[in-house]
């Protein structure tokens, strides 16, 4: 590793690339999430489109160096549209042997691998279950391996700070970030600023991190470690104001803004659960928006409290993930029966049971539709990208209020934590949400329905003259009084179905990306959007008559869907489950669609979808 004798930057070649997928991997304590987030910010400021995916272990802080303690963050940045966090890696940064062991399989042949040799001690190799040091055998030959002495050089860079060794080690990630920032021509200024803001209160830490990132950057600049750096030109991006946002943040915002538009307080009743807790955390910050966050004793109480708040006239929501969903079923049935608005958000994770709590899956769709006893149909809406969580949450709230019904919103652990740049909507462009609390006693009946929506009136307790009782026993069609009359029950069951069915009138025409008819339609919902879009675009680029349709509304399905399905020879439904949307459309439209199913607690790779598309086109 020769430094530049002249002391100034070496003249280095710069190669241009269209897009790069990089992953930072290290121990839970190595700060990989932070590194990834910062690199993401640098990339968006460099004008790239980006997609990110954090991946952290289920253990809070597993013993250092263990395989299950590895934490990673992946970023896909490009001068083109980015749909996903990327498939295989162009570059991988590994802070220790365990990170190498668990991530190397995803690195492309000849990909860039950055490792810190100081960490390849025999103790660490043992914890990572390596028999030989991979830096010393030939197992890494097919990659461009860069042994960057992160530990040593960070120590060197920080020697004047007087910080103890343990603290110095905490800046290693910034050193690595510096190296990689140089390598991909990212500006480190925004990060330097950020460091000042974030660590301003402990200047020694701010200084240490500053020194570390600069040290790393200069290493690239001043040594011949890397023959060239890479440039990824800015993408063509629609003008506007952007922010990088995770799905969970977007979900939280969607609800707050829906409540603001509706001029209602927002009430969240929730019980912490991975990966949903962050929505609770974030909403807890918005108290000045009239947001109540009630951490309940369990999920039943969470949805119960929300239902109570809905009865009281708030925009009521509850957030959870699979295990908690089961527990909310009975209360959701009550909400369906008393016809109060509410949004139940399920941020899906890998099941069954506790499953793999930090991993995403789409396995709760049929539960959302059928998971309650009795005929208790509820609208189901799903988000397809991190930023889309905003719109999906907003729309779920809007529908809930307009139709006086609980609505289920589905996202998943991938959307929850992944992020993408989000073109901020203008407040006025968002649909209005008008709430008509009934106050007129004249002609009032608790179950008198609006003709257009079949919604019953929403009455706030406290309204004089409208005192009435509701409950979960079957009700008379008009008065809402208890009724066991057989014909009335059938009428009520049917009207509850009709009300949900009416929501088709809210659904805009399904967007089909691609030819209006043809060989293959790839139909999806939820977080598979990105992988499908990229794969379909690729197939289209090859001239195939392949189209994509992606559903936001799962119940009811769009009115035009049957017609669309009929226009293609084949229909492929990629899902991170055993084929749940697939069953719905087979039953509804009797189309012989087939599924592409991946149930690994991981999103689809573009290539997985692309390969299947190719196979279906051949058949």
């Amino acid at each position: 590793m020769a430094t530049n004798p002249a002391g100034g930057p070496l003249e280095k070649a710069t190669q241009e690339r269209e897009s790069v997928v990089i992953r930072f991997a290290g121990d839970s304590g190595d700060g990989m999430q932070l590194t990834g987030t910062r690199f993401t910010s640098e990339s968006v400021l460099a004008g790239n489109d980006v997609g990110t995916l954090p991946d952290f272990p289920a253990e809070i802080r597993a013993p250092t160096g263990t395989l299950y303690g590895v934490s990673a963050f992946q970023i896909n940045f490009s001068n083109k549209n980015v749909y996903t966090p990327g498939d295989d890696l162009d570059a991988l940064v590994c802070m220790n042997p365990a990170a190498l062991k668990t991530n190397i399989a995803d690195l492309k042949q000849n990909g860039i691998l950055i490792v810190d040799p100081a960490e390849f001690t025999s103790a660490n190799l043992r914890k990572a279950e390596y028999e030989n040091n991979p830096l010393e055998d030939s197992s890494l030959d097919k990659y461009q391996v860069y042994q960057v002495e992160v530990t040593k050089m960070t120590t060197l860079a920080l020697k004047d700070t007087g910080l103890p060794n343990r603290s110095v080690m905490r800046s290693r990630n910034f050193f690595a970030l510096g190296v990689v920032s140089w390598l991909f021509n990212r500006p480190i200024e925004p990060t330097l600023e950020w460091i000042q803001q974030r660590f301003g209160k402990t200047p020694v830490v701010a200084e240490a991190n500053t020194l570390a990132i600069k040290g790393g950057y200069h290493l690239g600049e001043n040594t011949d470690m890397f023959a060239s750096s890479y440039e990824i030109k800015p993408a063509e991006i629609d003008p506007g104001t952007y922010r990088n946002i995770t799905g969970n943040s977007a979900t939280a915002l969607g609800f707050v803004i829906a409540a603001q538009k509706a001029e209602l307080p927002l009430f969240l009743g929730s019980y912490p659960i991975t990966p949903a807790s962050d929505v609770l955390h974030e909403l807890a910050e918005y108290k000045n928006y009239n947001v109540y966050t009630f951490q309940a004793e369990d999920e039943i109480a969470g949805v119960g409290a929300a239902l109570g708040a809905a009865f009281g006239g708030a925009l009521a929501i509850t957030t959870t993930s699979g295990p908690g969903m089961n527990l909310k079923g009975e209360t959701m049935g009550l909400a369906a029966s008393v016809e109060l608005p509410m949004v139940i958000t399920n941020i899906q994770r890998a099941g069954p049971s506790t499953g793999m709590p930090t991993k995403p899956e789409q396995t709760d769709l049929l539960q959302a539709i059928y998971g309650r006893h009795g005929e208790s149909p509820l609208p189901v809406i799903a988000a397809s990208t991190p930023a889309d969580c905003f719109h999906a949450a907003f729309e779920a709230a809007r529908i809930a209020i307009r139709y006086m019904t609980p609505v289920i919103l589905l996202t998943d652990g991938f959307l929850a934590n992944a992020s993408e740049p989000w073109l901020l909507p203008s407040v006025d462009d968002l649909p209005g949400i008008s709430v008509d609390f009934r106050t007129d006693p004249q002609g009032f009946f608790p179950y008198l329905r609006d003709e257009e929506t079949l919604a019953r009136p929403w009455v706030k307790p406290g309204t004089p003259g409208l005192e009435h009782r509701i409950g979960g026993i079957e009700k008379d069609y008009l008065t809402g009084n208890i009724s066991y009359a057989p014909a009335n029950h059938e009428q009520m069951v049917r009207v509850r179905h009709q009300k949900v069915a009416k929501i088709t009138q809210e659904i805009p025409p399904t967007q089909v990306k691609g030819p209006e008819q043809g060989k293959l339609l790839v139909l999806g919902w939820g977080s598979t959007y990105g992988a499908i879009a990229a794969a379909v675009e690729a197939a289209q680029a090859q001239g195939h008559a392949v189209a994509q349709a992606h559903l936001r509304y799962l119940n009811p399905l769009p009115a035009d869907l049957g017609d669309i399905l009929s226009r293609y020879e084949k229909v492929l439904v990629p899902e991170m489950n055993m084929g749940q949307l697939l069953r719905l459309i087979r039953a509804d439209y009797l189309v012989d669609a087939v599924g592409l199913n991946k149930i690994q607690g991981r999103p689809f790779k573009v290539s997985e979808v692309a390969t299947r598309i190719a196979r279906m086109l051949e058949d």
């Binding site: 803004i257 108290k287 109480a301 119960g304 109570g308 307790p461 406290g462 509701i470 409950g471």
Partner: protein, 337 residues
């Protein structure tokens, strides 16, 4: 139809138009009557009153009150009511539950509502049986109870509702009896006046599945001996001739007869605010002790809804009322032209 509390309401204003569907002779009728009786005095406009219940015979209560009402699902009323009270502190919320609804399936929500001190007035109708499901033993049934599901007698030690409420550190705990109209009214008035959550166990007769469960407390000729009427600041005297009392021996209560060297001044004096005393009283059970009725405990501490609403006020004061644009632009934002 005015919101003014000043409008004079009468008992009838609180009677709904629905037929009361309890079994003839059920103790629930008497309780309904007392509630409808005292409500006009409470100064609560009827549109501001909400009755919330779970499932059970007792939980049919809201249908019969001409206020807002919500007959929910089994055991969950405290959770639902908590959400309502937190977001609508202006409402007066009464909760009706049973020994099964409140202590079996709903036990957890109950204790959490009590510890949080949500201002709910919780009436637990304790008939020591599952009425609506036709006669299984309940968590308050005596050990060895022969009932539908326990032909050889139940094998679980009962829960003591008062002890449990003390365990949850409720701020107001009382007990009354369905047939004791006056006492019940007085107890409910006190509960209504309490600033915070109130827990009232009402001993209620299910004449179909557990008839006479509380008969020993009610029988005209013996009730003076079996009831211990608690009055704050008064010595604990009971008995037909007011000649018996409760004395403390260390931390152990004992029944003594007044006279023969024992005088009223030797007796325990009721102190509503003494938590240890309340726990001790709550565990005084027959046959060795009379059953305490009245206000066992009361104290004050902030309600969760006052704290939560205060936080919202404080946040608004600090950061200004929410603004959608600010919110959207929170965090790193950049522009593309």
């Amino acid at each position: 139809m005015s919101t003014e509390a000043a409008v004079k309401l009468t008992r009838k204003d609180f009677v709904s138009d629905q037929d009361v569907r309890w079994c003839p002779g059920c103790g629930d009728y008497a309780i309904l009557a007392q509630v409808q009786k005292i409500f006009p005095e409470l100064g609560i406009p009827k549109e501001k009153a909400v009755f919330i219940s779970g499932i059970g015979c007792s939980s049919r209560f809201p249908y019969y009150m001409n206020t807002y009402g919500f007959h929910t699902i089994h055991g969950r009323a405290p959770a639902i009511a908590t959400g309502l009270k937190v977001s609508r502190p202006d409402l007066h919320i009464w909760l009706v539950t049973g020994d099964g609804d409140g202590l079996s399936i709903g036990g957890n929500h109950l204790i959490h509502a009590l510890r949080r001190n949500v201002e709910l007035k919780i009436m637990l109708f304790n008939n020591r049986i599952y009425g609506l499901t036709k006669g299984q033993y309940s968590p308050t049934s005596e050990l060895g109870k022969v009932a539908k599901s326990t032909p050889m007698g139940s094998a679980d030690h009962p829960l003591n509702p008062i002890a449990l409420a003390m365990g949850a550190e409720a701020t107001f705990i009382a007990r009354s009896i369905d047939t004791e109209a006056k006492h019940q009214q007085e107890t409910l008035r006190r509960a209504a006046a309490h600033k915070g959550g109130a827990f009232i166990e009402i001993l209620q007769n299910c004449n179909v599945y557990n008839d006479g469960a509380w008969e020993y407390l009610k029988a005209k000729d013996s009730k003076a001996d079996t009831q211990l009427l608690l009055e704050h600041g008064k010595p604990m005297v009971f008995g037909k001739n007011k000649d018996r009392g409760i004395r403390l021996n260390g931390l152990t209560p004992e029944v003594v007869t007044i006279g023969n060297g024992v005088s009223t001044s030797d007796l325990l004096v009721h102190d509503e605010h003494d938590q240890t005393l309340a726990y001790l009283l709550g565990r005084m059970t027959p046959p060795n002790f009379p059953t305490p009725v009245g206000i066992l405990f009361s104290t004050e501490r902030p309600t969760i809804e006052s704290l939560m609403n205060q936080q919202i006020q404080d946040a608004i004061e600090k950061s200004g009322p929410g603004n959608i644009d600010t919110l959207l632009r929170r965090g790193d934002v950049w522009s593309v032209e």
